[in-house]
Amino acid sequence: MSKKVKVSVQGLYKIFGDDGASKVELVKNGMTKSELLDQHGHVLGLQDINVDMKEGEITVIMGLSGSGKSTLIRHLNRLIEPTAGKILLDGEDILSLQGDNLLEMRRTRMSMVFQKFALFPHRTVAENAALALEVGGASKQEQRAEAEKWLARLGLKGFEDSYPNQLSGGMQQRVGIARALCAHSEVMLLDEAFSALDPIIRSQMQDLLLELQKELHKTIIFITHDLDEALKLADHLVILKDGYVIQQGEPQHIILNPSDVYIERFVSDINRARVLRTRSIMKPLGGQDLSVALPVLADDNLESVIEMVHGDTSKSFVVEENGEQLGYFDMHDIVAAMVPQRAKEEWVG
């Protein structure tokens, strides 16, 4: 996995207040959020954020409200200006962009999908979808054609001339996604894009996003407060708390090795059988009796494995990928994996 880094956030600080810049040193020297507020009247938004977002991957930034995740995503297209740090897009520091160049970058290289959809209520669905093209000066026919193409792809054929408030929430968010896709940008920023939707619609939209991603290979940065959603979508998971990153990495790894009590509490609530995959709990091959082991795929989740053997606890399994045997586990390992791990404790499998 050595994909190119598309967006890189380095040493990012955001301090809200009249004179945030002068307070960065204080925070670097260990002043906490509450001390900064009490003594200087400034609010610490983000603190030493370092995240690499790889090309073609879905990076999920997760945190509860107030953790700074929405602030962070707005730094990426500079809707919010950082107090200190660097944001690199394809290696170019976007903080150096000014005026028209900045607008150009927002229009062509990053597109955003919003929690509350933020469609223009006075424009039709097609006009909303083609926003970035219109701003870029494309012809009317081109705008229409592109909007129709993406709206049809998202299942909104026939709604081109409707107005956003005539559509349901799920459909409105599809328009929001179509608007982002019409921009042809390589990076998509989704700010709690599915949080305002009903659970079933939300799940459908997640599937839709994954399906689109298989086809389009965008660099997606997804913000959510929902761990199940994060685990479903993430290639790379970043967990944010009070404005700093407490853990980031592969989702499976985070579930099995929570680095902090906070994450441990988070992780303890999820359906582990559905989230964990066989490759996450397998043990290295060697010495096991593989003659009775059933073959499973590395990306199968444990739920499907349990279902396969109808809960028979005597079975053992061999993990395969592309015909190659990768590892081994038995039912005891599955049962052990169901129990949440304690932070920083050695996991005995």
Partner: protein, 338 residues
């Protein structure tokens, strides 16, 4: 002698007080007469202090000072304001000429067509037609058209000045803080008070005198509601506009103004109604129209004349309100209720 004489004696200022004593204007208190006792002790107002010490100015001197000050700067104000406001006089004269010299059989269909075009409603058109017919029938048509012409010009100027001002206010908190008290003052100042400084400034026969009075009074709602409308545009939508690279101009024309339009239109409706209210009062300073008939009714105790003219003003108000509201509803409809 007033009870405050002792005070000036005590302070050793008696000599200074009496330096150039001359008979003073009779104060309001003195007219009433009566012995002073502890129960009637007077507040040390300017008039009361003046009684005790002639050096202290009376309140009348204070108001006279304002008059003198105003008279002193009047030439300067006139040289600046006269040329600036001259186009207003021309516009009013032109509109009055247009509305009164066009024959009724031409103007009535034109107005009817205009109203139907703006409102897209035959019902409103029929209402307009019946009101205009009423004016014609009771011989109030000419006066009503004069009033309408004045409102037309003044509202137009209010919109042309007020909408950009409101937009500027919505973009700058500092400007909003500076202008809001002025708007508050314009809105609360009694309507007659507008006329006082204007009478000093301009010749009473000039149309710009009443034109300015009407504009100052009626511009407030359109400025306020434009400011409010733009400020109330959903911040999420603004953020989306920014995230897709709209520049300031496109954001204003493509998002903010269209979304604020219903509120701005409500402001214009209010401005029209306030122009109508002021145009009646402005007949005191030679504004033509239905107001002159009301004034005639008051001055000469012609009850019938005043009453019928008042009724005609009500009809005109209903007409203007319905037409502008219907136009507003159409704007609303194109926004959201398809």
């Amino acid at each position: 002698m007033s009870s405050y004489s002792g005070l000036f004696d005590l302070l050793g200022m008696r000599e200074w007080c009496d330096e150039d004593k001359k008979p003073s204007l009779m104060s309001l208190g003195k007219l009433k007469g009566g012995e002073a006792n502890w129960y009637d002790v007077k507040f040390p107002s300017l008039d009361n202090l003046h009684e005790a010490c002639a050096k202290v100015p009376q309140t009348r001197d204070f108001t006279a000072g304002i008059e003198d000050g105003f008279l002193a700067i009047r030439p300067v104000l006139r040289t600046v304001l006269d040329p600036l406001t001259q186009p207003l006089s021309w516009a009013l004269d032109g509109a009055l000429w247009l509305f009164t010299s066009a024959p009724w059989w031409l103007l009535v269909p034109v107005l009817f067509g205009l109203c139907v075009f703006v409102t897209k409603s035959w019902k409103i058109g029929a209402l307009v037609l019946s009101f205009l017919a009423t004016f014609l029938f009771i011989d109030h048509y000419d006066h009503a058209m004069q009033t309408l012409a004045i409102i037309f010009v003044c509202t137009l100027i209010c919109v042309v000045v007020g909408v950009p001002l409101g937009i500027a206010m919505s973009k700058s908190d500092r400007l909003q803080r500076a202008i809001t008290p002025i708007l508050d003052m314009l809105q609360t100042l009694p309507t007659f008070v507008y006329l006082i400084p204007l009478i000093f400034l301009f010749k009473i026969t000039e149309p710009k005198l009443y034109g300015l009075a009407i504009i100052l009074y009626a511009i407030v709602p359109v400025v306020r509601l434009t400011n409010l409308g733009i400020r109330l545009v959903d911040p999420d939508v603004i953020e989306a506009a920014e995230a897709y690279g709209l520049n300031k101009r496109k954001k204003l024309w493509g998002v903010e103004i269209p979304l604020a339009l219903p509120t701005i239109m409500a402001g214009i409706n209010q401005t029209i109604m306030m122009s109508l209210a002021m145009v009646v009062i402005a007949s005191l300073v030679s504004a033509p129209g239905l107001g002159t008939l009301v004034l005639d009714g008051i001055n000469n105790l012609r009850l019938g004349v005043g009453f019928v003219a008042g009724f005609a003003i009500v009809l005109l108000a209903i007409l203007l309100d319905r037409v502008s509201k219907a136009a507003l509803d159409r704007v609303n409809a194109t926004q959201s209720n398809h």
